[in-house]
């Protein structure tokens, strides 16, 4: 009895600690309110208009030439200007170049640059900076921008406001839309190797926002650059806040800790649809997920040679029910896929005509296989060719991309229904990437993966299945000289209508070859608070995280 009494204080302490964790809510919430006011440095600090963006992964580096993450692009595109940009309708608009002209032969682009633009460190901007940037990227094949300058012959600053770029072929895509202009006075002392490991911790650009700081693992802050050449945006600061978990990020939006979130999966988006003061938007994107088929012509390719038969690939395409994939795997947040150009690239995307559509038609799939001589002779439910080789293929998907795994399962069932057996295996993305891109030994048959188009121009996506991209980005070893010739032609056709004709032809041709079965164009699912900032324009590609930065510049605080 006495012992119990002696232990009592212990127990009281313990229960106090436990209840303090749970029981102190009412007091601590007032403490929060009290403690936050006095720590603000100045009295006017409360009036600062801050846009708080929640994202679920971080930038890799602030160096645009070594960065590959969309988060990094999102921030650097507000810090650095390009020569040209996209407006909210994805029409070209001036950034550092007020206007541009093509020469008669289409080989030269002459950019007329703004006067009086200053770098964020106070130095003057001139055409020298643009020339330096273009030459640096071209000469050293630096980063993802090098692809736009592969035909560049020279880039010259004729005078401080005239920048002349010459190519050996006419360029349908204006590289001024893609390349961020870097300050020569900061970058020129570095070699290409040094630039590869240059973190660019304090980026200096000419854009509407300047870098403040990046607390790695938590927040990244940029603030308005008051000497910016264009209209001043309303947000004094933009703070990007990292969330380790998308559920928590959605909760933070609901509770008002953040104003907008970059992207969430369908299940979480549905939970936000009826939240108070929150608007959830579902917008067409520049991305798709696809089934890729190994069509390598290499004799030593370990891929199943039966897939080189177009009839088999078309049968797979007919068997696949893309409407079901969208409904089941994407919970309806997307459109059934067809062309290799994402549906969000509205100016160039071609809806494949109904009579050419290969979708959700198992009877047609069976018919094609019958006609091509694939019959189930031994009665095991799997068709074989004349020599008795069964239509049995390996199917790989990325285990952490749950929509892909679900789609792969549905695809497996649809294929089984027409007599084709698929053996599904899931891998992590890096392993799948190494397997798929192994040029010497592509030991796989069919994969499920996806693409994002880096620009609203057909060049990027149409350029993936080119012969010379085998060993580069061509993930299916597709090689079709007719297709390559059309690509070359459209990439050098400056007249938009003529180019559109060629681009359509390519989309049809590639669709008919059925080496890519584009499953869907997923929607971009975002959400924002309606009681803090207004003026968001809903456009393909998303409110933010898009190829245009205009939404950031046009929003205004809610009074």
């Amino acid at each position: 009895m006495k012992a119990y009494a002696r232990m009592l204080p212990w127990f009281l302490v313990l229960s106090f600690i436990l209840t303090a964790c749970g029981g102190a809510q009412t007091t601590s919430s007032t403490q929060v309110a009290v403690s936050e006011t006095p720590v603000e440095p100045q009295s006017n600090a409360g009036k600062e208009a801050i846009l708080r963006v929640g994202w679920a992964s971080e930038p890799d580096t602030m160096n645009p030439l070594t960065s590959y993450s969309s988060e990094s692009l999102e921030v650097t595109s507000l810090i650095y200007d390009k020569l040209l940009g996209y407006d909210l309708n994805f029409k070209t608009q001036p950034e550092l170049a007020q206007e541009f002209n093509y020469s008669e032969d289409g080989l030269t682009i002459i950019y007329k640059l703004r006067e009086g633009v200053k770098w964020q460190d106070g130095q003057d901007f001139s055409a020298e900076d643009a020339a330096y940037t273009f030459n640096l990227i071209k000469d050293n094949e630096l980063g993802q921008y090098a692809q736009w300058l592969s035909n560049m012959v020279s880039a010259i600053a004729e005078d401080p406001t005239t920048f002349v770029v010459t190519f050996d072929k006419p360029q349908a895509f204006n590289p001024g839309l893609a390349i961020p202009i870097l300050p020569k006075h900061i970058w020129e002392s570095m070699s290409a190797e040094e630039i590869e490991t240059f973190p660019n911790d304090k980026p200096i650009g000419t854009g509407p926002y300047k870098f403040v700081d990046w607390q790695v693992g938590t927040t990244l802050t940029i603030e308005r650059y008051d000497e910016f050449w264009g209209d001043k945006p309303a947000a004094d600061k933009i703070v990007y806040i990292l969330y380790g978990n998308e559920d928590v990020m959605a909760q933070a939006l609901k509770s008002g800790d953040i104003d907008i979130i970059t992207e969430v999966p369908p299940t979480i988006w549905d939970g936000l649809a009826d939240a108070k003061n929150v608007k959830a938007v579902s917008l067409p994107s520049f991305s798709f997920h696809h089934i890729g088929i190994n069509v390598s012509e290499d004799e030593n390719s370990p891929g199943n040679p039966l897939l080189k038969d177009k009839a088999v690939r078309q049968a797979l395409s007919y068997a696949l029910d893309r409407n079901q994939l969208v409904e089941v795997a994407l919970a309806g947040h997307g459109k059934p896929g067809d062309s290799i150009l994402p549906i969000g690239i509205t100016d160039w995307y071609l809806k494949i005509p109904a009579d050419k559509q290969m979708n959700a038609n198992p009877e047609k799939a069976q018919q094609i296989l019958e006609e091509a001589g694939y019959k189930d002779a031994n009665g095991d439910g799997i068709r074989e060719d004349a020599a008795g080789n069964p239509l049995e293929f390996r199917l790989i998907a990325i285990e952490t991309t749950s929509v892909d795994v679900r789609a792969a399962q549905l695809f497996r069932d649809s294929a089984a229904a027409v007599g084709i057996k698929l053996d599904l295996q899931t891998l992590d993305e890096n392993t799948l990437g190494e397997l798929v891109y192994n040029v010497d030994n592509p030991d796989w048959d069919i994969f499920v993966w996806g693409w994002d188009s880096g620009v609203v121009d057909p060049n990027y996506m149409l350029g993936v299945p080119l012969c010379d991209q085998i060993g580069g980005n061509n993930d299916i070893f597709y090689c079709n000289e007719e297709y390559d010739a059309l690509y070359e032609k459209q990439a050098t056709t400056i007249d938009v209508a003529a180019r559109k004709e060629l681009v359509n032809q390519m989309q049809l041709m590639f669709y008919d070859d059925a080496a890519y079965l584009v499953m869907w164009y997923q929607d971009k699912l975002q959400a924002y608070r309606t009681d803090t900032w207004s003026g968001w324009t809903e456009i393909p590609g998303g409110l933010i995280y898009n190829l245009t930065r205009e939404n950031y510049l046009r929003i205004t605080p809610v009074k």
Binding site: V39, I241, S255, Y437, G472
Partner: protein, 316 residues
């Protein structure tokens, strides 16, 4: 003399183990399928020259034995290389993160040990009572809670509904602090939910281990002797019971320091705590060899050191 010999022998073992771990780390990540440059190349549509230069910059162009020798020499000099993702020195990246993880782990470990051991002692002293039974059941329930789930429940209840504590990050974004105290207060508030999550899940095992050891000790003959001498129960417990039950608790604590890292990775993910967890998770996905090698070595070294210290405490 014997003690010195013992310590020297132990230190020798520590060095050999560390060398083994370093070698294993090097091989493990390179044997894993997946190439750190390949996905970069896909995302950026790099030319073959650009890919080749990246391999040279990160030393991946050399044969494996040469890479291994370079790796060992660099380790000896204390150089951990440059991250392939962030393009910054690994030492800078790790030093930013490790202190945050240590803060979280220290807070959780103190709470876990104090409450777990305390509750275990109470239960053992009151063995067979309702209090004992309810403590055991509570511990078992807590122990079997999944960390991730517990964290999310706390986020929803304490963070979203009651708004008692912030649910993410280490401090309030965009806040300038006018004093050391207000900054510490802010960090403390952010630290609360992750610490509770870790503590709830882990204190159960400490309670159960303490209880069972102490119950064993309390049935020993020398306790009976003590009782026979007429000592009060409090004295028996503190002078004869607890000291003898401490050894397994120290071992458990040493092991806990290494085991808690797994839980910490999950907790850091839920609460966006800028520690090692998220960094390592991303590094595995991206095959960022320098970060992986350095952080695994660091954790292995921590574990080895913790065991070394617990060995030393036994040698008395």
């Amino acid at each position: 003399m014997f003690r010195l010999e013992f310590i020297i022998k132990k230190i020798g073992q520590v060095i050999v183990t560390l060398f083994g771990v370093a070698t294993f780390n090097f091989l493990l990540f390179r044997i894993l399928p997946g190439d750190p440059i390949r996905l970069l190349a896909r995302a950026g549509r790099l030319s073959s020259e650009a890919i080749e230069r990246l391999r040279v910059v990160f030393g991946l162009d050399k044969p494996l034995p040469v890479q291994y020798l370079i790796y060992l020499t660099n380790l000896w000099r204390g150089e951990f290389g440059t991250s392939m993702t962030y393009r910054r020195p690994v030492v800078d990246i790790l030093s930013e993160r490790i202190s945050n993880t240590l803060l979280l782990l220290a807070a959780a470990t103190v709470i876990v040990v104090v409450i777990g051991v305390g509750a275990g002692m109470i239960a053992a002293a009151r063995r067979g009572t309702k209090l004992d039974r309810s403590l055991v059941v509570t511990s078992l329930v807590f122990w079997s809670l999944p960390t991730f789930w517990t964290g999310l429940i706390l986020v929803i209840i304490l963070g979203v509904y009651l708004k008692s504590f912030p649910i993410s990050g280490i401090s309030t974004p965009g806040m300038d602090f006018n004093s050391w105290f207000s900054k510490a207060w802010d960090i403390g508030k952010h630290l609360t939910l992750p610490t509770i999550t870790l503590a709830i899940v882990d204190m159960g095992q400490f309670m159960l281990i303490t209880r069972s050891t102490l119950v064993d000790v309390l049935t020993e003959d020398y306790i009976l002797t003590a009782k026979a001498k007429g000592l009060p129960f409090k004295k028996i417990l503190w002078r004869h019971g607890v000291p003898n039950a401490l050894l397994p608790i120290i071992t458990t604590t040493a092991l806990y320091v290494s085991l808690v890292i797994g839980g910490a990775i999950q907790v850091e993910t839920i609460f966006s705590w800028p520690g090692m967890g998220r960094l390592m998770y991303d590094a595995v996905l991206r095959r960022d060899y320098p970060i992986l090698e350095a952080s695994f070595l660091l954790f292995a070294a921590t574990m080895i050191l913790a065991n070394f210290l617990s060995d030393l405490s036994f040698s008395n």
